[in-house]
Structure formats: structure tokens, C-alpha cells
Symmetry: C2
Subunit: 240 residues, 2 copies
């Protein structure tokens, strides 16, 4: 996690920003840009059910001025174990349950951060931005502050940059914010949320199901923030 | 790193073993098998210069009884920054130099361990085997014991298994051994080193250049262990 003493990036400092195409990481990209970083956006096609998220990531990267956007192919679906990558498992639509949800992809965020670290080191960047947030906190282990802190420790042991004295920082600027606060911050920084897709099972036009956990959390966030929700829903689910 | 209190795996306990096709990871696979683990071997085609290493990994996985061998495609070469993935950079052949060598792939081992962790969690395995070793210690930051320990800490924060109380162990059984000791241990456990490829720029038949750092370290290891070296060299480099 970014330390209190970490310098704010100024014009010319490169950073790698993990960008999923969802609401949270779009806001994080806007935060990184607002701090003056030259943003290199990284998306990973890891076998998630739909490509709409990646189409959204492309639009968001361009709209928010990323100098480069890489989409890396990585077939995590071969390992199985998640409703997000295994079409034999059903995405739950009955509301949030106790425990870690079946949409958890085993160690996914560790893999994503490792890839971001690899690109950052190759670029000579020392800053990685990661869109973990407090709403996901209770469900996903790899969205907790202690996970982010442990990854930053690892990053500084793992890399040439870390060993040779340059401190690598993992920024998680929205980790303590509620969904409504993230939405307000994103709007303040110019994010166009109509470009983002949060749904776990969006159709190929990026239209949301309106029923999965991610849709529910997103809709509640817009309601709480008291701003218009630009989410596009699948016609059959509009009344759900 | 495996703790002293970690139970030795007995028949039926699954483990994920990172397998590169080189000498070290082949020995690690043999160690894991000797400890009774049901071994799932994981190789990653990350953009390294040649495919001979992966052919070697296939042979080794089969010879040492891995129940499954997955080769994951991952294009780290797009990030650049290493002589192992960027053909515009030359693999050094002048002997070992001070500092971190240009053959270092940015954060590669962090990425490989993250992938192994993902598969382990999907399988319900709590043991990951990693072939870092002492010979690489001085050059590569992600082969040091403190890196392995930090990754194990991270793994237990990152995963459902870790959060729900099962301890994940990252075993690095050869980390403190010299190359000669690794070779002797591998031979004791039945590794056929003629199947392994260590060279950074082997030809498509898996024949070694005899001049890169990896070839030099390997040849010195066989000499020190006083056992025949089964390495196949490219004819043009036999006298180098």
C-alpha cells in the first residue's frame, strides 16, 4: 500500500494501473492520472466469461489518457474453481451470502499484481495502482489492506528495483472507500461510468444482468451516491 | 518457505511443482514425489527464446510420475527488459558479472509462483514446490530465501485456503544446496539429467551453447559432483 511518505508522482513518472473495465479500476486510473502519473494500463483476459469487460477497459483507457494499454492473454480457466471462469458453475443471483463467494478466482489478484509488477519493472516504473476496495473486503481475501501491504513487501524483495534501493509502491487508493464514495470520486475526476461494465455475466454488448452480486453492489452504490446510474441492462432483466 | 513443523506429505496429498525443464526444478519434482506428494507439474511458456526447455519439461514430468502437466502460455516478452525474452538483447557469454544479470526476467518468479498458487488453490492443494537455489542467489533477487518466505506470507493472506485456516506452504527444498549437491540429490532420487535443458539459448533439439552463465554453472556442478555430465552441446560450440 502507498506509504504516507511516498512522493506524489509528478509529470513524467510512469505507473502501471490494473484496469478491469469495471467501475473501481476506472476510478483508480483517474486517481493515478490526477496524481500526475503517466499511466500504462494493464488488462488480463484470464478466461472470464465475457469479453465486454475488456472492451470497456479499452474505452476507459483511451478516455482517461493512458499512454499504453496492454491486454495479456492468460488461461486461468484451465485451473477451474470459479464461477467467473468455469461455465459449468452458475453465477449466484440470490444476493450476497456469507463466506467467500464462488465468483472468487483462485489467487487471481496475486497473479494480476505479479503481472503489473513485471511490466512496471520492465518499464522502470516503481508505482503500481490496484483497484481493491472496501466493499469487496468481506468476501475476497485478496482485496484486504493486509494483502496489499504483503504484496508491496514481496515486490521489494522480488525485483531488481527493490534490491537496488528503489522502493516499489502498490497504491490502492479506493481500498477504504464505499462504492458510493468511489462513484463520487470517479465523477469528480471525469470518469464516464457508462463506459464501465461491472456485471459478472454481461452480454456481448456489455449489458448487465442486474442480478449478480456485482450488479447489486453497483446499483446500490449509485443509489447511495444519489447520482444517475448509467448502467445498461439486458432487456429481459430490466425488471429483475 | 516450508516450516519445520510442516507435515511431510503422505500418499494422496496433492502439490503443484513449478517445472522449467532445467536441472533444478527436475530435482525439486523428484523431492516432492519422494515426500509422497501427488505432483501436478506447471510450466509456463512466457516468451523465452526456445521451446526446448518446455519439451524437456514434458519428458521430465512424465519420467518422474507427475499426474498432470500443464503448460500455460503467457507473453511476458511483450513487457521486454530481459535477454531471455527479447531477441534484441544478447545473452552474455563472457562469464558471470557483478550485479543482477540481463537474463533476469522482470518479476518472473513472482508471476510463476502466483500461477502455481492459483492452480494449487483450485485443486485444493496447500503445497507449492519451487526450484530456487543458492547458486542463483547472488544474481536473482527472486531466488533468495527471504523472497520465498515473503511469498508464503502473501499466499496465506491472498487465498480462500489461507483465510479459512489451512496453511499454504511454499517449499524450496534445494535453496541452500550447491549445484553439485543438487545434482547428487537428483541422481539419488532417479532424475535423468540427460532430459533436462539448462542453456539460455539451446537449439531446437535442446542442445546447449556451452557458453552462457547457465551452461557454465551446470558444467561446473557436474564436475564438482564428480559424475558424468550428460549435457548435449551444439557441435559448433563443443570446443568453446
Amino acid at each position: 500500500m502507498a506509504e504516507a511518505t511516498a512522493p506524489v508522482g509528478t509529470g513524467g513518472t510512469p505507473a502501471v494501473v490494473l484496469l478491469s473495465g469495471g467501475l473501481d479500476s476506472a476510478t483508480v486510473l483517474a486517481c493515478a492520472r490526477a496524481q500526475g502519473f503517466i499511466c500504462h494500463a494493464l488488462s488480463v483476459h484470464y478466461g472470464q466469461r465475457h469479453g465486454a469487460e475488456l472492451d470497456a477497459a479499452r474505452q476507459v483507457a483511451q478516455a482517461l489518457g493512458a499512454v499504453r494499454h496492454e491486454i495479456i492473454q492468460l488461461d486461468l480457466a484451465r485451473f477451474g474453481g470459479s464461477a467467473l471462469t468455469d461455465t459449468a458453475l452458475q453465477v449466484p443471483t440470490a444476493g450476497e451470502q456469507d463466506g467467500i463467494p464462488i465468483t472468487y478466482v483462485p489467487a487471481r489478484n496475486t497473479v494480476l499484481l505479479a503481472l503489473a509488477l513485471s511490466w512496471a519493472e520492465a518499464l522502470g516504473a516503481r508505482d503500481v495502482f490496484y483497484g481493491a476496495n472496501a466493499v469487496d473486503y468481506s468476501g475476497y481475501p485478496d482485496c484486504r489492506p493486509e494483502f496489499v501491504a504483503a504484496f508491496e513487501t514481496l515486490a521489494n524483495l522480488a525485483t531488481k528495483a527493490g534490491v537496488e534501493g528503489g522502493h516499489i509502491r502498490v497504491h490502492a487508493p479506493i481500498i477504504q472507500l464505499s462504492k458510493a464514495q468511489i462513484i463520487r470520486e470517479g465523477l469528480r475526476l471525469g470518469v464516464d461510468f457508462s463506459q464501465t461494465v461491472s456485471c459478472y455475466q454481461a452480454d456481448d454488448q456489455g449489458r448487465a444482468c442486474g442480478r449478480c452480486d456485482s450488479c447489486r453492489i453497483r446499483a446500490a452504490g449509485f443509489a447511495e451516491a444519489r447520482v444517475p446510474d448509467p448502467t445498461r441492462y439486458q432487456p429481459s432483466n430490466r425488471l429483475a
